[in-house]
């Protein structure tokens, strides 16, 4: 199936010569949730702004459901909804009117039942006649989402939707994204919160310094790059790793009270059985054993650093 969003060799250079995007290519399948991760200034927002028509690409092409974003901008843009990073709303307008405005702006006729449905889904119906300035920060973010959904887009961009919101609202946002997926909406979200990507994304793309470093299925990525550590707590402290255990590349833990063994979860033999046998043979007594899985955050940090080292 053709991807719903296809980005090919997109470059964006600003007048001052700064190149924010250096030939980004990315295909996004219909109905998936893609998390775009990257440090500040990596090019996340520039990429979104380029797809949405807010900035013009210097080179490359972007198509949305086959429609070129420059030549067929009407067809392309009417399929896209954008929730910006900053809360930008007309403070004196009523909630319901600002959502109606967005619907009209994107070419859809007035349909009160559709607007009501969106406002109810986002728990905004009771606030529909409030002026935006009377709402809390979290409610304003909901209004931004309601506006982005007002014209029934097939692709939704969420640019750091949960930046600065409390835990409860963040969970609500995740639920909303889950519901949208059930409705077949493709979602691309940028985030600083790795656990957010881990919790809701199907695929992860990592961008740094205007280049995509990696695009991969989240679970595969976790398996492929996920390393696990076995931590063996000892009853008696050691001053160094016994020579008999030299083959395992063990690291002596704090105060010599533990041995840390790093192994690859994807390999057929992890070596744990043999290690534990050899530990016993070496005459060491175990107090406890625990394992730790590396998180997406570790993967992300190592990827970004690897890119920097290569540069």
């Amino acid at each position: 199936m053709a991807p719903i969003l296809s980005i090919k060799n997109v470059r964006k250079a600003y007048d001052d010569g700064f190149e924010a995007l250096k030939g980004v290519s990315l295909d996004i399948e219909e109905g998936e949730i893609l998390a775009l991760l990257g440090p500040n200034g990596a090019g996340k927002t520039t990429l979104i702004s380029t797809v949405c028509g807010i900035t013009m690409p210097t080179a490359g092409t972007v198509t949305v459901a086959g429609h070129d974003i420059v030549r067929q901008y009407r067809a392309a843009r009417s399929l896209i909804g954008l929730v910006p990073q900053e809360i930008a709303l007309e403070p004196f307008e009523k909630v319901i009117n600002t959502v109606r405005f967005s619907r009209g702006l994107f070419g859809k006729g007035r349909k009160d039942s559709a607007v009501e449905d969106i406002l109810r889904r986002l728990s905004l119906w009771d606030k529909r006649n409030n002026q935006i300035r009377e709402l809390s920060g979290g409610m304003k973010r909901r209004v931004l989402i309601a506006k982005a959904l007002a014209h029934d887009p097939r692709v939704l961009f969420l640019d750091e939707p949960t930046a600065g919101v409390d835990v409860e609202l963040r969970k609500d946002m995740w639920d909303i994204v889950g519901q949208l997926r059930a409705d077949g909406v493709t979602t691309i979200l940028t985030t600083h919160y790795i656990e957010e990507a881990e919790a809701i994304a199907d695929r992860i793309a990592v961008i740094n310094d205007g280049e995509i470093l990696l695009v991969e299925d989240k679970d595969k990525l976790m398996t492929r790059m996920g390393q696990k550590q076995l931590i063996v707590q000892l009853t008696d402290p050691l001053s160094k790793v016994p020579a008999a255990l030299a083959d395992y590349a063990l690291v002596l833990g704090k105060d010599g009270q533990s041995l840390v063994y790093t192994y690859d979860t994807k390999s057929e033999r992890t070596g744990i059985t043999r290690l534990l046998q050899d530990v016993a043979k070496a005459g060491l007594h175990l107090r406890d054993v625990e394992t730790q899985q590396s998180s997406l955050e570790d993967i992300f940090v190592s990827l970004v650093h690897k890119g920097e080292d290569a540069a």
């Binding site: 009417s78 954008l82 405005f101 009209g104 702006l105 994107f106 859809k108």
Partner: protein, 253 residues
């Protein structure tokens, strides 16, 4: 054409006007009444008549023009500057709309507001002086064209402006002097010959002259010249806006 976008922008902008209807109306009505008191009653009693028309009545077209020009500029410039200032312009730039639809929405609303206030001023003037409108259709045409063209000009100022100070700068330094020196309160023929020649370079002269002709049949310049001037000004503004959206100047990087 994305007509629902035009409608959405228009309705949204008009809602802003109706939210502040009291301020929108009280201020121009009050200042116009003051003009009538000062120029019409106090000074006008010494001037008597200008080309057969009482001075109080003579200044009515100029006052209406003065109001619609400044209102058209301020409404349209604020209308497009405010989304830039608070960041909501992102929605406009990412929407499936072209420059004409954006302009029709914003400029249409700004021109409507200006015309609304212009009509209120005209009605107010009926309480102060006796006036008859000889060419009502021409009067409406001049009023509409002036509202639209100055709203277009205001739209350009709104896109250009990088701060609220700049938003005030052009109306204050250029438009107000041109309007005051454009014959709002006098006939160009009352000026010394040199100033008459200089005045011919002021585009506002043609608008006020044409508008005044629709009231009294009196004009400083031929009516066709007035129409051409206003059409040219409208075309110039439209061309500039077309270029702005094509190049993305000050709005799209």
């Amino acid at each position: 054409m994305n007509w629902s976008a035009v409608r959405a922008i228009y309705v949204f902008e008009m809602a802003r006007f109706f939210r502040t209807i009291a301020q929108s109306l009280i201020s121009p009505v009050l200042s116009t009444s003051l003009y009538f008191v000062v120029f019409g009653a106090a000074i006008g009693s010494r001037i008597q008549e200008v080309e057969g028309v009482s001075y109080g009545a003579f200044i009515v077209p100029g006052l209406v023009m003065l109001t619609v020009m400044t209102q058209g500029i301020s409404n349209a410039s604020f209308g497009i500057y405010f989304p830039k200032f608070i960041g909501t312009i992102y929605e406009l730039l990412s929407a499936p709309v072209n420059f004409l639809e954006i302009v029709m929405g914003y400029v249409g609303a700004a021109a409507t507001k200006a015309m609304f206030i212009g009509v209120v001023i005209l009605i107010t003037s009926f309480f102060f002086v006796d006036i008859t409108i000889q060419h009502p259709l021409a009067m409406v045409a001049f009023l509409v064209l002036t509202c639209v063209s100055f709203a277009l000009f205001g739209f350009i100022i709104g896109i250009w402006a990088g701060s609220f100070e700049q938003l005030q700068l052009v109306p204050l330094l250029i438009v107000t002097p041109l309007v005051f020196l454009g014959g709002s309160f006098y006939s160009i023929s009352m000026l010394p010959p040199v100033w008459q020649t200089i005045s011919m370079f002021n585009p506002v002269v043609y608008l006020i002259s044409g508008f005044r002709w629709s009231f009294f049949g009196l004009a400083d310049v031929p009516i066709l010249t007035s129409l051409l001037a206003i059409a040219g000004f409208t075309g110039l503004c439209l061309g500039a806006i077309w270029w702005i959206f094509k190049s993305g100047w000050r709005i799209r990087q």
